[in-house]
């Protein structure tokens, strides 16, 4: 079963969470990224996500696998929307189950941090003033 998925349809959070149940798990941490109504001081109306599908899925799987190696967790999954989203829509979901809560939190945060930095998905913001822009935040090397 894939542990990273791209979806053109709204994410089914209940189903995603159900896939991470484990009788040995005492803690389950999740992160939801929602489309918010502002960015860098500008009012935002909505956005589009575009992905390089094949590479995004591979890199996403790699990130989840890294999290499962680094932290003492039982199950983890990440799903990311593509397409047009409105304010308040769920853009990305991460869930992690672990025996203890510290590892669940740490792995959840690792996954969302790495996904944002490494997975080839791009956001085009539509501003209330009518224009739109692809976001390409430049990270200092190497």
């Amino acid at each position: 079963m894939p542990r990273f998925l791209l979806s053109a349809e709204p994410l089914d959070v209940a189903a995603l969470g159900a896939g991470l149940r484990d009788p040995r798990a005492g803690g389950h941490a999740t992160f939801e990224g929602w489309v918010r109504d502002h960015h860098a001081g500008r009012a935002v109306d909505g956005l589009d996500y575009e992905a390089y599908g094949a590479l995004a899925e591979r890199e996403g799987e790699r990130i989840v696998a890294e999290a499962m190696e680094r932290f003492d967790v039982l199950a983890a999954c990440c799903a990311h929307r593509v397409g047009a989203l409105a304010i308040g829509d769920l853009a990305v979901w991460v869930g992690v189950s672990a025996a203890h809560r510290g590892a669940a939190f740490d792995a959840c945060r690792y996954i969302i941090d790495e996904v944002k930095q490494r997975v080839p998905i791009w956001k085009r913001e539509h501003y209330r003033e009518g224009d739109a822009d692809w976001l390409h935040p430049v990270v200092d090397g190497p």
Binding site: Y49, E59, W134, L135
Partner: protein
Amino acid sequence: MSVALTLLYFASLRERTGVASEAVDTEAADLADLYGEIQARHGIAWPREHLRVAVDGEFARWQDPLRAGSEVAFIPPVSGG
């Protein structure tokens, strides 16, 4: 000796080139060289240091030689999540 490749463009690079993909024949020595050609042809401002490059759905190094028939993507800084 030229090599036939498919190039993929995403996000602002796709908007800049006006296409999501294109077939090219190139004599570039490596991926860095290829990006130089494409930059010049499409007037792309991004310095190579800000991009990553992928071949057939896997990240690659700029020094890698070109493989005939492969699919090459230049990856501008990402903004998912």
